[in-house]
């Protein structure tokens, strides 16, 4: 996907699907980087805690499936399709911010230093998707 514009195929997708694909990639990347540092079991626990906390406000996040293999967004696709893309974006943004808060609380800057260069551009990309739609 281009950083600035959407490809033809993606333009045909529903905005919520584009967002879900983007956040699915992003959360997978977070999973890969952080699981290498702290292991899958504890990371699964942190994801569960973060999803539980943010889902209090963004209910669609309860449809995410967290396991020791990662996080799947597929269960949320249908519900997200009926929601405003900006709301979906805000839910995921809050989830990622909360995960970063947990990582920072546990390891100071150690995890964030590894993660930030990879995550920041993708969140910006999500914001561009929202503004283009």
């Amino acid at each position: 996907m281009s950083m600035a514009t959407l490809s033809k195929g993606e333009k045909e997708k529903k905005p919520s699907d584009v967002l879900l694909d983007l956040y699915s990639d992003l959360l997978t990347e977070i999973w890969e980087v952080v699981s290498a540092l702290i292991g899958e079991s504890i990371l699964e626990l942190l994801f569960i805690l973060a999803v539980r906390k943010i889902a209090e406000k963004y209910r669609f996040l309860t449809l995410l499936k967290v396991s020791d293999e990662g996080i799947s967004l597929e269960g949320a696709r249908e519900d997200c399709g009926k929601m405003a893309p900006a709301e979906v974006h805000r839910g995921f943004q809050n989830l990622i911010t909360h995960l970063f808060d947990l990582f920072s609380a546990l390891a100071g800057g150690v995890i964030s230093r590894e993660l930030f260069p990879k995550v920041f551009p993708r969140v910006k990309e999500a914001e561009r998707v929202i503004s283009q739609k």
Partner: protein
Amino acid sequence: MRLVFRNLNILRSTINAISMSLDLKEIVESAGTNLPNLFDFSSFGVLWKEGPLLYLYQDESCPATFTDDVVKNMVRIFSLLGQGPIDVESIHLRVEKRKFRPGQMMMDPRATLKSHLTFPLALEEEIFGCVSLNNDQPNAFDAQDLQFFSVIGYQMAATLKHFQRFSSVKDMATYDTLTNLHNRRYFEERLAVETQKSFYGGTSLSLVMVDIDHFKKVNDTFGHTEGDKVLFETAALLKASVRKKDTVARYGGEEFVLILPEAELEESAVIAERVRRLVEKTFFEVGQERIRLTLSLGISNFPSHRATSKEELMEMADRALYQAKRRGRNQVCIYDPAQG
């Protein structure tokens, strides 16, 4: 590369030492002894939610300001992990001072916490504590430190969980589930130990058999559930009346037994009388009613009664209890050889 191999070997022996430990304190000590070979830190902490307990292994030059920061930080993170707030004041803090640093690298007396790695102690989605490495220098830890520390954290969690399970199995084998007193099996073992100590050491040992008077009436009138409540409350009163070193056990049914090490006959009579009076004055809530109950108690003592075995000491206390019942209940009787 050689350094990585060396560190992996240290990591391996650290994990091995942790897994061989038999209780929380030993686990913390194993980790605290080995970790300085792997990490540069000023303090290592283990927060265990039961208690709550916080063990800190610190450099001997760690100032109080730094310790305070570490305690607050660990409590904050534990709460952030969704475990609810812990009152810092309620924490049982155990601090072990060790020499981690060369003499010329003493910590600043006003040092504060600048960097840390904290890892939840968790298994099967249950978080039961956390461990942390702490330093007074900023950016003291890197990604490899985190990887190594997480491996140690996993091992500590597994060992502690195993220990916790083992403890609960041990508890089940030694405690009476209805009253939370020691059970008869534990009592037999404890009595064997105490009689050995007394018989060979020549110290005094008293045994008190206790029976709730007319307990059958409680069960018949109010039902067994209410009867169980009475047993539970009586057990609590017994526990509250004895000394720290005494053992209180449920012997069976409505019968209890007290082992009073180093108690002369007079002292054990005072304790037994205190128990009797406390129960006599207590109102027990059964069903919609408040009732009063009484106890009969029988005492035997070594060396006063010249028992030569634990069985004989038991037999004497039992006979004294029988005397108390025969004389009209609600009283303490001391074994009298003349009564047989």
